[in-house]
């Protein structure tokens, strides 16, 4: 029997790959977290439910919506540290820290994403080539586990669980609060420069050379012209130190509706991709200045106001594949990828490249490597092509992102992530009954 504290709801993942009836409870006090965790044998915590893959729910299982836990618990401007509850969104978090000239640079692409969600997925943001992932800023975590109780986690306290929790997809329990080390944010907006590139290899060579550069460096490349695969632009966002005025605009208050009605078919196809790519390409090549001022919001959260990009995939949705390829194999990987692309002509709406820095462990999407991002229309032809991409990942020891790609299987993860079994074993030691579960964890046997 379903308790009166639980609501049944039909829920769909952001990429529209998975839909199921789930149970929802919404704690709004600390004792409620304990009480509501007892309502079901299996549960998982839900932040903003904006992960592409279904990481915060599964069929007939309980999801604890954590949005009421969005408070600042402690802030020390001198020591540059902040403790916030896990349900706080980046919008609220940054509006506060930036007003004190501080921030964390590892910010995921949408302001409604919750801090706990970013910790559970080890989010990286655009400057990951220099700053690495959000793991580098985390000092402490307070975790609640239904059977293990309230735990303080840090490098010094419960270190194993601390490591399991960062990038652990919420499987160690509810991330109640997180303490971060903050960086100074010297300027108050960005100066953006654009550089033309004529191929994927050209882009990679230029991006590699900027590895030590603190700026945000990423590319936009076209894959809709088989004769000029990978031509496009490299964008470089530099914090504008000349602009000292502290009248930073607040990040817009937006409300994302998970249940909005979208078209039953995709508006993206070979023609529309070519059409929009041409507009974007020629606008940036001929009309846009090569160097211009950009405000904070449009640099950090480029998808604000452009949510229609995702809606255009219709109810069938999309698949995003994000892959980390080592510097050693990147050229070979790209060569084979382009060969396969010419042969199978998949429909890719977005292709982007950036640097990544860090040390790989467990299931964390983190390494010293090049990060490739592709958005595919979800159709049989593309899904078939993605199987070849999986084979490439295995061949070149590349890491496919688990949180982005909702079709990725246990077999591929086990072959690509050398610490996957270690993660499973350590998680099992901590949570013997596998209480915290999602579609993602079930699919990957975590």
């Amino acid at each position: 029997m379903v308790s009166s504290l639980i609501k049944k709801d039909l829920f769909k993942s952001f990429d529209k790959s998975y839909e199921s009836e789930i149970l929802i409870a919404k704690p709004d006090r600390y004792r409620d977290i304990e009480k509501k965790s007892l309502l079901s044998d299996n549960l998982i915590t839900m932040g903003s439910a904006l992960s592409y893959a279904p990481a915060s729910f599964k069929k007939n299982s309980l999801s604890l919506i954590f949005e009421k836990f969005d408070r600042i618990i402690e802030f020390d401007k001198k020591k540059k540290t902040i403790t916030v509850e896990g349900g706080i969104t980046f919008q609220k978090f940054l509006n506060f820290t930036l007003s004190h000239g501080l921030w964390i640079p590892q910010i995921p692409g949408y302001p409604l994403i919750s801090i706990a969600g970013a910790v559970a997925t080890n989010a990286h943001g655009k400057s990951c080539g220099y700053h690495g992932t959000i793991r580098n800023q985390i000092k402490k975590i307070t975790l609640y586990h239904k059977e293990n109780g309230w735990l303080k986690l840090s490098e010094k306290e419960n270190r194993e669980i601390f490591e399991l929790t960062i990038g652990g997809f919420g499987l160690t329990g509810t991330i109640v609060d997180v303490t971060f080390d903050l960086y100074d944010f010297a300027g108050f907006n960005f100066s953006t420069s654009i550089e033309n590139v004529n191929s994927t290899t050209d882009t990679i060579n230029k991006i590699k050379n900027e590895r030590k550069n603190e700026n945000y460096i990423y590319s936009w490349n076209r894959l809709d012209q088989s004769s000029k695969l990978g031509n496009g632009f490299i964008f470089q966002n530099q914090i504008n130190l000349n602009d000292k005025k502290k009248n930073l605009n607040k990040i817009d208050c937006i409300d994302y509706n998970h249940k909005k009605k979208i078209l039953p078919f995709s508006l993206w196809n070979g023609y529309s991709i070519k059409f929009f790519n041409n507009i974007y390409f020629y606008f940036h090549k001929y009309l846009k200045k090569k160097k211009y001022h950009d405000d904070f919001q449009s640099v950090i959260f480029p998808f604000i106001g452009k949510e229609r990009y995702f809606d255009m995939f219709g109810t069938q949705g999309f698949v995003e594949s994000q892959i980390l390829v080592s510097n050693k194999y990147i050229e070979l990987f790209i060569e084979e990828f382009e060969h396969l692309h010419r042969k199978y002509t998949p429909s890719i709406t977005l292709f982007s490249i950036k640097n990544m820095n860090g040390k790989q462990n467990y299931l964390r999407f983190e390494d010293d490597s090049i990060c490739l991002t592709f958005d595919f229309i979800r159709n049989n032809k593309n899904l078939e092509f993605m199987n070849f991409l999986d084979e490439l990942c295995i061949k070149y020891q590349a890491l496919p992102s688990i949180i982005k790609d909702s079709r990725i299987s246990k077999n591929i993860v086990d072959k690509c992530y050398k610490h996957a079994e270690e993660f499973r074993n350590d998680l099992k030691k901590f949570d013997k009954k596998k209480i915290y579960r999602s579609e993602l964890s079930d699919r990957l046997g975590l």
Partner: protein
Amino acid sequence: MNYLIVGASSGLGRNLAYKFAENSQNLILISRDLRDLEAIKSDIESRFHVKVIIHEIDCSSYIELDNFLKSNQNFFDNIDGILFPIGMINEDDNIRNESLPLNKILFGNYASVLRMASEANRIFIKRNKGVIVGFGSVSALLGRDQNLVYSSSKRALDSLFESLAITNIKNEIKIQFYVLGYLESNMTFSKKLILPKGSTNILSDLVFKNLDKKYKKIYFPFWWVFIAYILKILPFFITRQFFKLHLLLLSYLRN
């Protein structure tokens, strides 16, 4: 100005705390959840330039509240206004239940408000200044089978605030009473209801805006005023049928 909010750790109380802090009012917050009070205090003090004092008191316990008020005799001296967004519901609150925690529900919903409001009122009369805001419920409009102690406490609360308004008719003390319909809150989160839920944000705005009104009795959401009026003018043998219809509609919605 210093405002006391009783029941501030969640729902409407928490919302009111933020609304008042946003408008630069210092706060004294009471709740039985210390961890939540501490979180609200640190959040409000970090984000707004106001002072927040917190007290962990379980208002459904007569002894606890009595002890607190006896050991803090001057508690109301620096308070300019007091708000009671407090409510306690028990799933087994019906006349057939022998083990019902009657005292707790009665004290949590009514007697604690009576105790604090009357003490505060005495201080406010001396100063000829102050505001007392109470929150009732539409469940008090009609006798009922479920939540019996809760709804009768809320009806008593309605009468208490009318009495407070009459007591203070010749002075500057302001009395306001809100009769609340369904609100977006933890209590109604999983419930399928016949009428739409009101927003606690809009209600908090309204409460703050009305603070300087001498006497107000407001139904929120507003359509409840019409329902209340109809229920009042009709004889009980007819309103009983409304109750049956209501139960029928609810069982239809829930199935």
